[in-house]
Amino acid sequence: MSILTGASTAAALPPPSPDGAVFTFDDVGVRFGTTEVLRGVDLEVAGDGITVVLGPSGSGKSTLTRLCNRLLDPSSGRVDLRGTDVRALDVLQLRRAVGMVFQRPTLFDGSVGDNLAATGVTDAAAHEEVLDAVGLDAGFLRRDGGTLSGGEAQRVCLARSLLVRPQVLVADEPTASLDDASSRTLEQLARRLADDGVPILWVTHDLAQVDRIADARVVLEGGRVVAGR
């Protein structure tokens, strides 16, 4: 446990394991003011493969992903990472264990290399290796983030979150702003990652995509799980 985070009261991070659920949502509710975004959500995300959460926009999908790495805390109920309440874990370690890819590619100012270094991992060989894993060659390291296509940028974002070797990947409609070819590439990358033992929680509103990638599916509507616990 890092001394920098000063996490004397935090529980140790549960080790990665393909058995059981990686995330367990227990009667989770989220309210913003008077608006209920999630209500009584019970949900298990399998410790292997790709679990897809499907739902129309406004159904609370994004909110659900943000609970996994504590960008947001629930108003009621609890979220466990492998049996431990995420609030009992050191939050900075939790976030490194839970990789996240957002709906829109969010590159920081600077080169692709700068973006990868923002993780704290500055080793050039590691940068090249992770770029290779998302299908980009080492020449990208010096490219300015602003010159990339949407698909390339999203792959860099994926590489950035993989660089710290997360135990699980949470992806919030990662292909929503991409063309078909880029979407397929990202789907294939997700499949390879899942086969390599990193479970994935993948949120989408695209039914055809669900059929292509889902090992398990959950349907969210109006802030409630309506099918496929």
């Binding site: 985070t5 913003f32 790495n69 504590r70 960008l71 947001l72 805390d73 609030r87 939050v91 900075l92 370690q93 976030r95 490194r96 996240m100 957002f102 829109r104 969010t106 920081f108 100012d109 923002a118 993780t119 704290g120 974002c157 950035r160 979150s161 710290v164």
Partner: protein
């Protein structure tokens, strides 16, 4: 009145207000009432200020009265900031803390080094100048931080999601906002004497102080302002970071979520 400007002179300068009113009427601006009201209001406020100044900071009055007035100025400046940037919680308290810190540092240096004597004629004017400028910078900075954070919200959350602590995730955006808030102050300082004569120096010259003395006083004042703006904005930037993130490194922007 024994000052350089006679009462009659003040009345004569009122003609200039009438000129402004005339222009407004001629051009159909319909600002005549506003102009007269503003001119009268300024006159009344300054007259009241004069009376208070006589009562509180005239030579021989106890120095405690001056410090009391400084405290009132800080309170009022904090309220003004809060009113002009109402969407940031706790900003009133934060800006008061910032002004107090800036007062301690800058007045501490000026009085500590004996640049000015600590007496009832120096404390209030120096503190007033310092607080006034810090107030403007605080309004600018806090608005800039809110705009920057709203604009770059996704980037900040992407940084948090990588496990960066809030201090690190916020740094590039706070730095940008601080630069934006400080640059005008630096530009003004550069242009002083060439592009414009500061109001205080004009006042001193009109009151009959020699140009050299006026320049010396002005230089000190400029550095006072620069120093206090730097201290104030640093405190506000650090404080805003505490306000906009939870202890669990979660971004909490008012008006979103």
């Amino acid at each position: 009145m024994s000052g350089p400007v006679e009462l009659l002179g003040v009345a004569a300068s009122g003609l200039l207000v009438l000129v402004a009113v005339g222009i407004s009427a001629w051009a159909g601006l319909r600002l005549e009432r506003d102009l007269i009201a503003a001119a009268l209001r300024a006159l009344v406020q300054l007259a009241l200020l004069g009376m208070v100044l006589v009562a509180m900071i005239a030579p021989g009055q106890p120095i405690a009265l001056s410090w009391l007035w400084v405290a009132v100025m800080i309170l009022f400046a904090g309220w003004t900031v809060h009113r002009r940037v109402p969407d940031v919680p706790w900003l009133w308290m934060l800006s008061m803390a910032a002004f107090t810190a800036a007062a301690v540092v800058t007045l501490g240096v000026l009085f500590g080094a004996g640049v000015f004597p600590v007496d009832s004629t120096t404390v209030v004017p120096l503190a007033g100048l310092m607080i006034g400028n810090s107030m403007t910078a605080t309004v600018l900075l806090s608005r800039r931080i809110m705009a920057e954070f709203r604009d770059k919200r996704l980037e900040i959350e992407a940084r948090l999601a990588l496990g960066q602590p809030s201090s690190q995730a916020a740094a590039p955006y706070l730095r940008e906002a601080l630069r934006t808030a400080l640059v005008p102050q630096i530009e003004t300082t550069k242009a002083v004497g060439i592009v414009f004569l500061p109001g205080m120096m004009v006042g001193l010259l009109l009151a009959g102080v020699t140009p050299l003395d006026a320049v010396q006083a002005q230089v000190v004042i400029m550095y006072l302002v620069l120093g206090s703006v730097a201290v104030t904005t640093s405190v506000v930037a650090l404080g805003m970071r505490r306000i906009l993130f939870t202890a669990a490194h979660q971004l909490r922007l008012p008006g979103t979520d």
